[in-house]
Symmetry: C2
């Protein structure tokens, strides 16, 4: 048992030091590793397999709404980045610059894309001539670079993987519709696949994307009570179209500017999965995203017939993503590993089970054990994977709801932020001065103006002037 | 008919100007576009969908051999790139350098990866301790950058997409086995999916990868008689392991160097598909890679029931990748478009067909028309897609074989290279001086020393000294 203990003891308790617990899981579940390039991470097989499943699920949902994938260059000439004023101000301070190609200095420096609005706009300006060319609903899967000062695996790194959708439409209404449509795709994906409940809303002007008319966001709450912006969808109106001169002739042969959107989700969702679902035994993966959903662990595997039976069960369970751990480690060690890696179900099969025609099935999320007749194993595993998903979503929702507070006075607000990690709902006058003051006083930021509004009072929680809307506030990653 | 003619006439004939024909297809089939970044292309939806299918097919084959996907940083610190001498000499002259991150100059410049051997070695040096950690069989899908002077869409661009596999093994024999295994995966993929026959062989020392002990290649022949290197697999021996100090303790507790391989295939295969299969009506896509395999084109679509029937047939054919062109263009225009885009089958359905309970099915590769009873449509389409694949592969093989020549004297060699585009098989002494002379005299290069050797004569075709092996020579992209 000494070895098993060592494996488990190597994780810091999440209540003791949440940041260290996070780092321990990233390392022990072999999700990512540090590289020789400061601030850039290596995504290891266990981490990348999660990303592949995220891609598969999201991409399918995108394509159902008419999205087409493309690939744009990774470099942006300085003059192109500078075309939209707000955008360049937002991004120029944090880009990496290529100044030399081969043995020659470049005539114009190129930045490594931090996001690709400018490239898509430049492309669309050539591509779009007539109303017949609209809409364009393009997306790309790629990596982007932002020269962050402090970094953490998955949550904030100098290079990360994402998808960025960029669309062009004939009318403002169509652009707004697409912006909301994609926000809903993200929200549904988070709940239905990652078992992460989200708050949908609009960002304040202070927090919106550089160059956007409106930014919509989904916000989720981590186990430590900090918020994570989990996906954003931007409506650009015709701002970029005017800067890049993207015009089309409408049915009446008049020149019109297009209306644009963009929307993205990143590898930071792997961080969200860790911080929403993980526990002190390691990662807990939602079944629909888990690269391995079921780990079969043979007990006394050297006894005759045990390994054969384990592989037979693998066949029986082949509708699911299933593996057999036939390594020469002890069962206890294998249990710890399966728990650390967050595999939703473990099936134990040994000589006694075989004799009784059954297997022991253990849930990763609750630790519950079930004795299941082998004849019912396939069906039961399917049911349990669905139950686990529902339970994880419910648990995360209950945690979020029990960590969502209401503040009606500024004293109350400050006390909650100070003592109770979570979201705080409070009224806001709409003035950025109050937002700035709240951030300065408490380090909390406005997470979003939720679509579902409540009227907690008539007055701004900060200045007492008439309130315009209710805002979710919180400390964030 | 005027419009249809215009569409078709816009392509240059391949016999008149092959390079212009290629560029025309890339543009008219909407595969890629030029960008504002010199030498970097935009891959448009029709091109990217081909790449997605290449990825899906290759990735599945990789995983069947135990490959796991990872993601490494896109940057390589200069000091890391310099660790293996041959490697840095091969790549340093053609990399892009990042010298500034955010507002600060970097302390050490970073190159944008031209290939990731050095990053994987650095990773493996930390990851691999014991024989239990071996083998490591990792791959990544990403983009790489090489600062080429002259570029052409898909064939040679400053940034391109690829996969790069990097493996580490306990023994030299295992590394060699993996190198050949992956070459075979590529060869099978080319024949079974892209309908492109390939020659498997080893590169000469002059042509091998910078830092490799041996480079294996698959070479294919384009319609104009030029060769295209279509995939390579490298055995590094322990060269990189020694440079990066990648050691493991074996079962006898002794320190050993690992043996490594790498292997890659790129978006240039889209260029190969164009140049092997295309014709004067446009692209011809092999059915197994075609994003759309069947285009249903309604005739007199405003007549009652025609569009409904077209969409009903779409349901019938839903085992295949099928679309209905219900745009308001004329049928003739739609035919030209389907041909230009290389969609393998077209199904025409109009009022007369409906009355007769049949549809007209037209093959893109041969132009053959079939009248097919609707009750047999599904089965017939499946058969035809298989027949098209087999026919395209056979046709490409026949073209290659009829453009493969043998030369026994240097005069003969030079005359063939000069007058007959294609491969030339000729004996070689093994001396690089002869390879250099042949290249200087004829611009032809050694494509590979094929695994299937023939003894055409005893003497080197160039110098007349005793021959060591038969080599495929040719002008190449």
């Amino acid at each position: 048992m000494a070895k098993e203990k060592k494996l488990v003891e190597a994780i810091t308790s999440m209540d003791e030091d949440f940041a260290q617990w996070y780092t321990d899981i990233v390392k022990k579940a072999e999700l990512s590793d540090y590289s020789s390039v400061k601030g850039c991470m290596i995504i290891k097989p266990a981490g990348y397999a999660i990303w592949e499943n995220i891609q598969k699920e999201l991409d399918r949902r995108f394509k159902e709404t008419g999205v087409e994938n493309v690939y744009m260059p990774m470099f942006i000439p300085e003059s192109l980045l500078e075309k939209e004023k707000d955008h360049v101000e937002g991004f120029a301070p944090e880009v990496a610059w290529v100044t030399q190609g081969g043995l020659e200095p470049l005539q114009e420096k190129l930045c490594v894309r931090p996001t690709s609005e400018t490239l898509f706009c430049d492309f669309y300006a050539n591509l779009i001539q007539s109303y017949r060319d609209l809409p364009k609903v393009y997306n790309q899967w790629c990596s982007v670079v932002r020269w962050e000062k402090t970094t953490r695996p998955f949550l904030r790194s100098r290079e990360f993987l994402w998808q960025e959708g960029h669309t062009a439409h004939a009318t403002a209404a169509e652009a707004e519709e697409r912006t909301i449509q994609m926000l809903n795709v993200y929200a549904d994906f988070c709940e239905e696949v990652l078992a992460i409940p989200v708050i949908k809303g609009r960002k304040t002007d202070k927090e919106k994307f550089a160059g956007a008319e409106a930014t919509y966001t989904i916000e989720s709450l981590m186990h430590d009570g900090k918020a994570l912006q989990s996906g954003t969808s931007h409506n650009f109106g015709d701002g970029f179209a005017r800067a890049f001169n993207i015009q089309y002739t409408d049915k009446d042969n008049k020149l019109q500017y297009v209306h644009q959107t963009s929307w993205g989700m990143t590898t930071r969702m792997i961080g969200a999965i860790i911080m929403v679902h993980g526990d002190n035994s390691g990662l807990v993966l939602p079944p629909r995203i888990a690269p391995t959903q079921v780990m079969i662990i043979p007990i006394q595997q050297r006894k005759e017939g045990v390994l054969e039976k384990a592989f037979e069960l693998k066949e029986v369970l082949s509708d699911y993503r299933v593996k057999v751990d036939d390594s020469d480690k002890s069962p206890g060690w294998k249990f710890s590993e399966q728990e650390m890696r967050g595999i939703p179900l473990r099936v134990e099969i040994g000589p006694k089970d075989m004799e009784a025609g059954q297997a022991v099935v253990v849930r990763r999320d609750t630790g519950e054990k079930y004795t299941v007749a082998l004849s019912e194993l396939k069906e039961r595993v399917g049911e349990l994977l669905d139950e686990i998903h529902a339970h994880m979503l419910e648990k995360a929702r209950a945690h979020r709801d029990s960590h969502t507070y209401e503040a009606r006075t500024y004293d109350e607000f400050k006390e909650i932020i100070d003592t109770k990690p979570g979201f705080v709902k409070a009224m806001w006058c709409g003035d950025q001065a109050c937002e700035d003051k709240i951030k300065e006083d408490t380090t909390a930021t406005s997470r979003c103006i939720p679509f579902v509004q409540e009227k907690l009072s008539d007055k701004c929680v900060c200045c007492g002037r008439p309130a315009k809307s209710m805002v979710y506030w919180g400390k964030a990653y």
